[in-house]
């Protein structure tokens, strides 16, 4: 094990941490929006809509993320070409940035899980809370924004943040379509000099540090969010 190379790999890998965090965050935000939309589909009165929802969830959860990524990586250029030919946009589909495939596949995939988080969080707000508000004369609108939404968010945010750390790890598959995240960077580092173990250990250490730091940060935030709940401290 070569310490010098390990250290230089370690510092080099940090340079891609911001873009990894940012890309994960972007996916998270997009999938929150899509996930909320899906939740609405689920609650729709229309039977067909609900069936579409169920197939969507089953498909995106049933197929490995890796395959979603590859499918969109190969499907995107022809689709974009179709549109660009029709609309005369002249998009260079041969050199389409693979990051779009990552964004789309990850968002569609993550949304299938986030919709469940969002739904269960809204469900977790007890009827009694809304009845109490109604009894005090709150309008439906006030009940939603003053009681239901804040309480649902308290429940959902910690889970969503947890999902964020998961996304950072899942992004490690992006190297398959040559998008550079932490893991892909470590592969690039070792591709030059063949010091595999050094660069993989360095990447593992970066992930470990990141994960511990984020978990600490998030759990403190969660404590803050749950400050009005009964503390379980013995």
């Amino acid at each position: 094990m070569n310490q010098k190379i390990f250290l230089s790999d370690f510092w080099n890998i940090w340079t891609v941490v911001p873009q990894t965090l940012f890309l994960s965050l972007l996916i998270l935000l997009l999938s929150i929006i899509l996930g909320t939309g899906l939740t609405l589909l689920r609650q729709s009165q229309n039977r067909l809509t609900r069936i579409i929802y169920r197939i969507y969830i089953s498909y995106f959860r049933g197929v490995p993320l890796l395959i979603h990524l590859l499918v969109f990586y190969y499907a995107l250029p022809p689709i974009v070409k179709l549109f660009s030919d029709h609309l005369n946009l002249h998009v260079d589909t041969l050199h389409l940035n693979p990051i779009y495939a990552v964004l789309i596949s990850y968002t569609l995939y993550a949304a299938s899980f986030l919709s469940e988080i969002i739904r269960s969080s809204f469900k977790s707000v007890g009827k009694d809370q809304l009845e109490a508000a109604a009894a005090l004369g709150y309008t439906k609108y006030q009940q939603f924004f003053a009681i239901k939404l804040p309480q649902a968010l308290t429940d959902a945010i910690p889970k969503i943040l947890n999902y964020y750390t998961l996304l950072i790890r899942q992004l490690s598959l992006a190297f398959l379509v040559s998008v550079v995240d932490i893991f892909a960077k470590s592969k690039l580092e070792s591709a030059d000099n063949f010091y595999y173990i050094e660069s993989f250990l360095a990447a593992a250490l970066v992930y470990w540090i990141l994960c511990i730091a984020l978990t600490l940060l998030f759990s403190n935030y969660e404590k803050y969010l749950r400050r009005f709940e009964r503390s379980n401290a013995a």
């Binding site: 049933g62 490995p64 499918v71 998961l166 598959l173 470590s186 593992a204 470990w208």
Partner: protein
């Protein structure tokens, strides 16, 4: 794209299914066995053991499994050679895959078992001890059965995770389902990558659907005394 092309793709892909299923069974048995030991260790009185296991679980949970796979694949032969002088270079790649997944699920499943054990309230243990059960009797007859019933939905999720995550093995050149897809795409330039990966996805989907059916059947069977609502958690 004709029907025969699709059929051919499926035929090729299906060659990988037994490998995938065998791998899953091995990894699951070994991983859950390890996780029982890890859980017991983390609940034990030995501070050192607990500290070491906490570090181990924290590491496994922080690092993507594909990176762990590479670490084991490149690192283990080095370590074994330096410490024991045994050359692992001719050993099957599958061995490294199984080792990685065993270590991974040993940690992850203990993260399900341990909280489940702790949820089985202290009161249940009190009740057993108060009547003169030995701690071991309390574990065997009261606490472990309840732990399992609480843990089973989570464990079921993890099997599905395992199916999904096994798709990453192909980066080492295995011949499982995803490995077959990769072989088709890289060997046969007339093949359509999109079609091949999509079909592989459909097979994974089918496996997951069947597994889910089996799992919910099992859950109903053991559900009768559980009063906690089960919520299927997230797939990693």
């Amino acid at each position: 794209m004709t029907f025969s092309v699709v059929l051919n793709t499926f035929v090729q892909l299906f060659k990988g299914v037994p490998v995938t299923l065998t791998f899953i069974i091995f990894a699951w048995i070994l991983g859950s066995s390890l996780s029982i030991l890890v859980t017991a260790g983390r609940l034990s009185q030995h501070q050192w053991l607990r500290a070491i296991l906490t570090v181990y679980v924290s590491f496994i949970r922080s690092v993507p499994i594909v990176l762990q796979l590479f670490l084991v694949y490149y690192g283990l032969p080095l370590v074994v050679k330096l410490s024991l002088g045994i050359d692992l270079s001719s050993v099957s790649k599958m061995l490294f895959c199984v080792i990685t997944f065993t270590l991974y699920y040993g940690a992850y499943l203990s993260e399900i078992l341990r909280p489940s054990y702790l949820t089985v309230s202290a009161e249940q243990r009190d009740a057993a001890l108060s009547m003169g059960y030995t701690p071991l009797q309390a574990d065997i007859h009261v606490l472990i059965p309840q732990t399992l019933s609480i843990a089973i939905p989570g464990l079921g999720n993890e099997i599905i995770n395992l199916v999904h995550q096994s798709s990453i093995l192909f980066v080492l050149g295995t011949v499982d389902l995803m490995g077959q897809a990769d072989t088709i795409v890289s060997n046969d330039y007339t093949s359509s990558p999109l079609l091949t990966y999509f079909c592989a996805g459909l097979i994974y989907w089918a496996i997951v659907i069947i597994l889910n059916l089996v799992l919910s059947f099992l859950e109903v069977r053991i559900d009768k005394f559980r009063d906690l609502p089960s919520e299927r958690s997230l797939i990693r």
